[in-house]
Amino acid sequence: MSFIIENAPLIFQGLSLTIEITLFGVFLGLVLGTILAIGDIYGGKVVKGAIAVYVEFFRGSPLFVQLFIAVYTIPAILHVQIDHLSLAFLLFGLNSAGYQKGYVKGAMQTVLDDQMAAGLSVGMSKVQTLRHVILPQAYRIVIPSWTNEFCSLTKSTSILAYIGFIDLTGAGNSIIRETYNVLPVWVVIGAIYLIWITAFAKLADIIYEKKKIPGVEFMMQ
């Protein structure tokens, strides 16, 4: 077990990368997912079709394959050298948006009809109503799915180790190469993932308790 202390900096470095890319991915996914959801509700046939293709691609194929496409295929097609880390960050955001679009759209639609009518009736425009009425409620309704997405994303960041980055899994691989101590390392790494996910879920719970509004969470099914 001493390998933990000896390799603590490496583990810490790996964990940092994992956390960074998870947070970046899940928040970019939320912003982009919201745009896609709004486009899917209000857009014309062309917009809806494009969104459907986008979602089908990102939800229908493995993240692993998407990552390799991002890192190998895209630079080859565009004949540009782009650093792999940025591509990976972007990809996680785009992928998450594919899933979050569904969650946000569903959350919006639970309140859309009546709240939009109410918003229009006081003279607000559709955009104002979306911004001040629909989205504030949708973002509270979406929280369970969102924390789920967060957990999924965290786990899938482990693929970064296979394009040469030192995330938490990559740190594990490194340590094993040095110490040949396979089983304990993975047990510890696995435990660290669990601790991170549990800690974040707890934090999300606390924030949610502070920000919740009586009456809005009752919609969550």
Binding site: S121, G123, Q128, P136
Partner: protein, 259 residues
């Protein structure tokens, strides 16, 4: 220069209701060539059998549903013309929904303030003052910091009325304001409407609260199957309506209420 606060001219509105199976699409002709004029200070009440299209007509007046044919006028402005800024127009109309539709994520105060800040662009303090005044007028000051889920139906609907009033609209349209409430709670809403009527607010109400109609409405409009069948003062309908359909409806309703 028109005399009317609002006018509907030959309005038509049809909509489709999807049924259980793909083939079951019902076509409902909710509004068939309906015309109506409302002057300042009028208190008119539309009543009739359920499903006749009264609510749809009211929503068309507020341009919450867009008429298929015909014109809606707010003062001199024709709202059904293309290119009209509907948001600005709706800002001059107050609407109260049957199912209330308060903004769930805001307190009563927030509900009333929102339009004052976002639509009228009032500064924070003035918006707050006016909102508090509106809430006091409908006598729900105790709910100021409460969320919709923490209020009774009657309190919520009165907040809805305050929300509609706060912008000092030219007219208030009310769509069955008491239908979704428990019977014990309708009284508070009706009292509020009575007060508004006394102050000379221009109102167009869809309702089947007959006692209220008798007391407050200046003119009653019988609406059935998409059309206005008969118009007249309450005394006409409660004593001797002209048309058979109105007669039938009134007998049914009066039997129900005098139990």
């Amino acid at each position: 220069m028109t005399n009317y606060v609002m006018e509907a001219k030959n309005v038509y509105k049809t909509y489709c209701v999807k049924g259980e199976e793909k083939q079951d699409i019902k076509i409902v002709e909710a509004v068939k060539d309906v015309s109506l004029q409302i002057r300042k200070g009028d208190i008119k009440l539309i009543f009739g059998p359920s499903g006749s299209g009264k609510s749809t007509f009211l929503r068309c007046m507020a341009m919450l549903d867009i008429p298929d044919k015909g014109e809606i006028y707010l003062g001199d402005q024709c709202l059904t013309k293309p290119g009209v800024d509907l948001n600005k127009a709706r800002a001059r109309i107050g609407f109260v929904f049957q199912h209330i539709y308060l903004f769930r994520h805001l307190t009563a105060l927030g509900n009333v303030e929102l339009a004052l800040r976002q639509v009228l662009r009032l500064p924070k303090e003035e918006a707050r003052r006016r909102a508090l005044d509106a809430l006091a007028e409908v006598k729900v000051t105790e709910c100021v910091s409460k969320y919709p889920s923490q209020m009774s139906g009657g309190q919520a609907q009165r907040v809805g009325i305050a929300r509609a009033l706060a912008r000092n609209p030219d007219i208030i349209l009310l769509d069955e304001p008491t239908s979704a409430l428990d019977p014990e709670l309708t009284g508070e809403v009706i009292d509020t409407l009575r007060d508004l009527a006394k102050e000379g607010t221009t109102m167009l109400i869809v309702s089947h609260e007959m006692p209220f109609a008798k007391e407050v409405a200046e003119e009653m409009i019988f609406y059935d199957e998409g059309r206005i069948i008969e118009i007249g003062p309450p005394s006409l309908f409660f004593n001797a309506p002209n048309t058979d359909r109105a007669k039938q409806f009134m007998t049914r309703i009066i039997n129900k209420t005098t139990r």
